[in-house]
Symmetry: C2
Subunit: 389 residues, 2 copies
Amino acid sequence: MKYNADLEKLCADYAFDGLKESVAAFRAGNPGRKVVDLGVGDVCLPLPRVVGEAMAKASLELCEKKTFRGYPPAGGYSFLKQKIVGRYAAEGIALSEDEIFVSDGTKSDVTRVCELFGRANVLIPTPCYPATRDVNYAAGNAVAELPCVKEEDFLPFPPYGKKYDVVWLCSPNNPTGSALSFEGLRRWIDYALSVGALVVYDGAYADFGDGRAPRSVYRDARALRCAVELRSFSKGAGFTGVRCGYAVVPRAAGEYNRLMKRNGGCRFNGVSYVTQRGAEAALSDEGRKINEKNVKFYKTNAEILKNAFKNKNLWYNINDGSPYVFAEVPKGFSSADFCARLLRETGVVATAGSNFGKAGEGFFRLSAFCSREDAFWASEAVGNFLETL
Amino acid sequence: MKYNADLEKLCADYAFDGLKESVAAFRAGNPGRKVVDLGVGDVCLPLPRVVGEAMAKASLELCEKKTFRGYPPAGGYSFLKQKIVGRYAAEGIALSEDEIFVSDGTKSDVTRVCELFGRANVLIPTPCYPATRDVNYAAGNAVAELPCVKEEDFLPFPPYGKKYDVVWLCSPNNPTGSALSFEGLRRWIDYALSVGALVVYDGAYADFGDGRAPRSVYRDARALRCAVELRSFSKGAGFTGVRCGYAVVPRAAGEYNRLMKRNGGCRFNGVSYVTQRGAEAALSDEGRKINEKNVKFYKTNAEILKNAFKNKNLWYNINDGSPYVFAEVPKGFSSADFCARLLRETGVVATAGSNFGKAGEGFFRLSAFCSREDAFWASEAVGNFLETL
């Protein structure tokens, strides 16, 4: 039997799968204990009604001969791509429908984009979304981590003088919450154009930005020549269980648009009609209003959670453009040990920073995707626990 | 910019994308002409009501806080995997839930399975589903085609004395309709075990089998040690637009089960809750009854289409275990030329056999996924056209 040796570069479990298992074990071993799970960044606010109703209507349409639809277009239905193009146009960014590739979410898009460039030298600023690092290793890329540091608010700066084929940026960043400014973005586009690199810009958290940072990589228009952007309906619109996102692959960015169409044609049969009708509704006026309300709700949770860290002499991300709290662990702990002890003592589940790359060691992440009640409860529990150390 | 050189091994268009485009061009150039599209194998019977209603219900559940669900388990919900395991058990095949990996369809599964073994020596009997060949090339595998011939009803026989890492089998076959007998299957499992190869068994058309052929590769129990099976809800249950299928990766088949879980964890966030409730309903008693009725309907269409070939002295697949008619083109035509002329003269869209690999040259495929009326109309049109040659 022949196995893909690149998969052996991965650690045994996907970070969040491993986390889910250890939480399940803790619950089983501590029946009756209150557990507040701020580990995996999974939403809890329900799907906007306008979205669910659009999906229910679409489901029943498929039961009628006249309104039945078979294979979706591989890149997405025009009704959805038009809406997406319209949203970009409202930000002054001109895209055409054939530059949008609707997908079942950013995790899948990371693989699909990797397939475009093959085995490459890639640079990934860390801490980063674990799937980004994992998939690049699994795809056989030569991966260089660019460690970011708390003293620079975990912002990544280009490695002048070094050449990479591909640079992965995530802004606002998961897990650190740091967001590239217009100036920071300009620097990366300068770098990419100067060395001929492709920028893959993970904008899954674009809706959480604080308005001072560019929402899209294409706010630097030169990015149309060198950047792919990934977007998701998961967090604001509550699509983690519905699965929809999209990749923007501009025609001006070399051969990637052609390859995305060709590769997608043989690997992917597109996203459910039902899901795409839901995504269309999420981009309606009503859908966007609820999206905005949801984002505000989670960001307020993050602020509440941050109260735990005030006057503790520990670094944490004070900026308010993220649904995550990223904070330093007290001296003497590894991030994994701290998270284990936090769970044992308080019942609060956090993710150890080491799951996000070596640069995350010494930090931990709390997800603000929880109820308001849990945010208050966890904030107090974590704050009190930190006092005892 | 760096591009994936493996993608350059593909022809310019994915077969069916190219076909869709040329049909659209024909329609545009011939307004008012009746066109019967038997090209792409896309279903037309609507989704069973029990399925659509389950999906509508699930969509609305997601709008309520209490019944909202976030990320699905990467390998699929237990409620669906139980049903799948139950179906196998009814055929005497013992599988456990963690050997089932629910997906968004067979096309995606082809890539996911390729990722398990990395760059390998693979053998693909042809004619074959174009995505199988394309994805293996795109994944950087060394692809050997095993040409099958009409004199043996396009049945594939193992290449004794030669060693491959992976063998792709599709039974009943798309496009030829040939199905491995129990004896034929036994030969391939013998071969795989003797050389240490993995068999990937594409059973997307299992429901169309005529009962004399094994529905599952695991009807040879030794296949649990060396075979992955792919299954789909697309054709019988009308899921081409909903997107659901699954891969079976037995724990006894080396490291693949572990790797599938690990690789899936970082690359794929699972299938929509709504879709999985639909698939569950497709496996209910009522859903399966409609599935069976649909399969019978399409198979009857295939029989009607085959009337066009009676007494024409051209080979065609007489067996009745397939929704496709695969037939020889008259002497003097390439398969592409014949299909172009057929469209021009009759308005019937067929797929040139060359799209299914070199061994398909000289043949063409008619899909029986059409209305009864179109089947009769096309059968007569094709039959009359053949008379004129």
